[in-house]
């Protein structure tokens, strides 16, 4: 009886235990669990900071001509007369049920607004990273082929430009060149993909260029340095050369393969600043993304909206870093096989 019981049921918990203990599942689980305190801290700080800022939602909404009584009345209407921790608690308990609250400014559901705008910011971020990474691979490899050569010096100069020009300035230069002077691309505005794929592409080119240039520059410099470093110090490079592999083959087939891991880590590290940059780029180009919405919400101290967007941005950052971890596991055979055994 006991044997029969064991025989039939034993494999079930084993499958479950194996699943839970699987390193990939564990990495995902840990990352997601880590997100919870981050979200709590981030939203609490947002609430507290917005509360400390001078001015109030009511006076921002009512404008310069408002009287003290008007401001007071609106504050009561918006429950801004309650202490902020009470409002935070109310917001937090609702947020756990997936309801991020209502905008203080126009009563729209924060969840709806964020979901409506998220795809713009996500495609901006995704395209920018893709462009920056692929651009960095091409430029850094060409640079590293002959360090100190003319091409390397030109590329190094361009990438130092990328690191020193503020995104704001670069975006405007792009607009002046491609929209105003050459009339090739729209200066502002967004066309949804569903309306016109070509229009969408045109409206995304300049924002994506502006977003990716500074991170491209960082990726490019780091990758170039790593390629050159590996080329001169790693023994496997010597092995490859001893086989008779040519300069490009050694660089691309061997060194780049190993340098790519550093690049992936860097992408994860840059996610934060990239998400922050969406606010600038979306404002300049008039894209309906969450970054622009965040700026507007901060202007009005629209706390539920600001917190809702902060929540989404934190989640994006956590997921992006998770993706980096998983990508590592997929690409690096050393990690991949450890997890299998």
């Amino acid at each position: 009886m006991a044997t029969a019981y064991l025989n039939t049921t034993a494999p079930r918990p084993n499958v479950f235990v194996a699943f839970v203990r699987h390193p990939v599942v564990r990495v995902i689980g840990i990352r997601l669990l880590q997100a919870i305190p981050i979200l709590l801290i981030a939203t609490f700080i947002t609430f507290a900071l917005l509360n400390l800022l001078p001015g109030s939602t009511a006076s921002a909404l009512l404008g310069d001509g408002a009287s003290a009584e008007q401001i007071k009345a609106l504050e009561i209407k918006l429950h801004l007369d309650q202490p902020f921790w009470e409002r935070y608690w109310t917001w937090l308990t609702a947020a756990f049920t997936g309801n991020l609250g209502e905008s203080l400014v126009n009563q729209q559901s924060v969840t709806a607004v964020v979901l409506d705008r998220l795809h713009v910011s996500l495609s901006l971020i995704f395209l920018s990273i893709t462009l920056a990474v692929s651009g960095a691979i091409v430029f850094a490899t060409v640079s590293a082929k002959k360090p100190g050569g003319v091409i390397d010096r030109i590329f190094t100069f361009i990438s130092s430009l990328g690191q020193s020009i503020p995104t704001f300035v670069f975006s405007l230069v792009m607009v002046l060149v491609f929209s105003v002077t050459l009339s090739l691309l729209p200066a502002i505005g967004y066309v949804p993909f569903s309306d016109s794929p070509i229009g969408w592409a045109q409206s995304m080119i300049l924002p994506v260029l502006s977003m990716s240039f500074p991170i491209w520059a960082i990726f490019c410099r780091m990758l170039r340095a790593d390629l050159i470093d590996q080329a001169s110090s790693e023994d496997y490079v010597q092995t490859a050369r001893a086989k008779g592999a040519g300069g490009w083959a050694v660089l691309i087939r061997h060194i780049l393969r190993n340098s790519i891991f550093g690049l992936i880590t860097l992408v994860g590290l840059q996610m934060g600043s990239l998400i922050g940059n969406t606010a600038i780029v979306e404002s300049i180009f008039g894209l309906p993304g969450i970054g622009r919405e965040l700026l507007n919400a901060i202007h009005f101290k629209d706390i539920p909206m600001v917190c809702g967007i902060v929540v989404v941005m934190v989640i994006i950052t956590v997921l992006a870093n998770l993706a980096v971890d998983l990508l590592y596991a997929v690409l690096d055979p050393r990690i991949r096989h450890d997890s299998r055994s």
């Binding site: 092995t239 040519g246 393969r257």
Partner: protein
């Protein structure tokens, strides 16, 4: 030693090349590194030759220039190195060849095995791909599939168990000894005429060392290669080499066939190296006679005997003139004004 004799005997087999021209001939090879203000005379006027099927051991301490010399032969030195002299591979001058022509020879006519098999294999590439790469570089018409099939064969030749499975594995899944076998398989992929093994077994434990060395010698026989063993270990030279060149501070200070050298050491430095080898006939924990001294200064061209500071036989002339390497006896050359007198007792 017994194995050696049979191999040496078999070397007399009818191969016309053996008597006509050596596989590798090096004359007056010099390597100077210039980096900014700093100049390093790493290799000074080295002349060597390796006949077909024979093994030359190049012995020296670290910093003696033996590794730089081997990389100079392969054309693997960075651009900061200035190489002069002559290196003839299979009768053709390869020094000063354009990189593109030179790399056609690397991996095909001459191949190299490095010290640390853990770092010498690309960690992100499958074993099979790394072996196949060597084949596909030099034989353009070989398909990927064929190259992998040959990689499996090569792994079998270097006695890696379950080669079918190993080609699909990554370096970190193999032990150190297995990795070095993979390195050997890569080197052998295009059946080179010359194999340079640079401290090929130093990173391995003693048992594995012997296995790998025995494998190398078997393969040498099987493929009819010439070999240069770069080592700091006199024992390896004595066991596996036909000829020995001893290097010190960028100079070859003594060169002779192995029996001649170990029978009649003339150069005091070689003596010192030999005495440094632990021997069973010495009492355990006995102090080994080593003359301590600062490492020789390689930033200036030699004007005196570089070993003079450590030499027990040093005299005034050693400090004034650089002793040239001269063949004082048949096939036995040394660079010393005051060599050790002939002694009939074996080393």
């Amino acid at each position: 030693m017994t194995t050696r004799t049979t191999v040496v005997a078999s070397e007399g087999a009818p191969d016309p090349m053996a008597t006509t021209a050596p596989v590798l001939e090096v004359e007056h090879l010099r390597v100077v590194f210039r980096q900014g203000e700093k100049t390093t005379y790493a290799v000074n006027d080295v002349s060597l030759s390796v006949p077909l099927g024979r093994t030359l051991a190049v012995i020296g301490e670290s910093g003696s220039g033996k590794s730089v010399m081997s990389r100079a032969l392969m054309g693997l030195l960075p651009t900061t190195a200035t190489i002069t002299g002559s290196v003839r591979l299979l009768g053709q001058e390869i020094l000063g060849l354009p990189e593109n022509d030179l790399r056609q020879r690397r991996g095909k006519d001459m191949a190299m095995i490095f010290q640390d098999p853990t770092r010498s294999l690309n960690p992100t590439m499958k074993i099979g791909t790394q072996i196949a790469e060597n084949i596909r570089i030099h034989e353009k018409d070989v398909s990927r599939k064929e190259a992998i099939a040959r990689a499996v064969e090569l792994l079998r030749v270097v006695r890696v168990p379950a080669p079918d499975r190993r080609v699909e594995e990554y370096p970190h899944q193999l032990s150190g000894g297995m990795r070095q076998r993979v390195m050997i398989a890569i080197a052998l992929a295009c059946q080179p005429k010359l194999l340079i093994a640079d401290e090929a077994t130093t990173a391995l434990d003693v048992t594995t060392q012997a296995q790998v060395m025995d494998l190398l010698l078997d393969l040498q026989q099987q493929f009819g290669m010439s070999m240069i063993l770069i080592s700091h270990d006199m024992g390896i030279a004595a066991t596996y080499a036909d000829d020995v060149a001893v290097m010190y501070a960028g100079d070859v200070v003594e060169r002779a066939p192995v029996t001649e050298l170990f029978g009649h050491v003339r150069m005091p430095y070689t003596r010192m190296l030999l005495d440094a080898v632990p021997r069973l006939d010495r009492p355990a924990h006995a102090l080994i006679p080593v003359t301590a001294a600062r490492p020789p200064d390689l930033s200036k061209a030699a004007t005196s005997c570089r070993f003079a500071a450590r030499c027990p036989r040093v005299q005034d002339d050693c400090l004034q003139t650089h002793p040239p390497l001269e063949e004082h006896e048949d096939k036995h050359a040394w660079a010393c004004f005051h060599p050790i007198p002939l002694e009939r007792t074996s080393a």
